[in-house]
Symmetry: C2
Amino acid sequence: MQEALKMASFASSKGEVPVGALIVDSQSGKIISQASNEMEERRDPTQHAEMIVIQKACKLLGSGRFWDKMDLYVTLEPCPMCAQALSFVRIRRLYFGAYDPKGGGVEHGPRIFESSSCHHRPEIYGGIEESACAHILKDFFERLRGLKSHETSL
Amino acid sequence: MQEALKMASFASSKGEVPVGALIVDSQSGKIISQASNEMEERRDPTQHAEMIVIQKACKLLGSGRFWDKMDLYVTLEPCPMCAQALSFVRIRRLYFGAYDPKGGGVEHGPRIFESSSCHHRPEIYGGIEESACAHILKDFFERLRGLKSHETSL
């Protein structure tokens, strides 16, 4: 999760919502792909860190399935889009940091992995390095609000 | 939907699950982007027709939001991943063809647009050209099963 936090920090420095993710081969411990949010850079709200690491890993592995040895680490609870994508690639374990009551799709909202139309459910470990993962997001949004109120007062 | 069906037919000819999608500017009637499934070609199960048209349109429009004049046509009920992506780009209307009780995320499964964590719900019109959209899928899977049983009998 420390590596994912570094990616989140990198996102923050570019003005992106600070979320970082990586995929690890559980057998070798090797990082297969890593990414941070690129929604602003690509002007595309589907460019979440999880979607990017999945797509990168598919390219590298030459396969979009049989990922039963791969684990995903992400600093924020995945949204419903990313949770469904993780089900499609049959990820083995999902480790996430901060919980997301407003936009999460794992422990909140539609709880994708509990749905009848979800055909693969990974093992789920939430709240890993929760304070650090939540802090980087809180700090980012506080600075953003600060900038906006500063602009308004000019 | 006729254009989306053509895309689905194109997918079928490449051995892809035949689903086609396009995004239309409701004011000009112009097609902004169109695509079919590319899951096999890219070896990536997240490459649904809807995700590809959204990502293409974001590039073309230079923006991932304020799509309140854009409509999406797709031959199959979107899965939860694609439904959430459509919510993120704030699509105006969703027109879909066949219903998908096993994998759909609009009228089935987690019903993404009805979730508390969904912050934009398009107008939804299901069952458009339903027979033709369902037929092309049924035909594809029947041929696939035929090929498999033929291989088994060799």
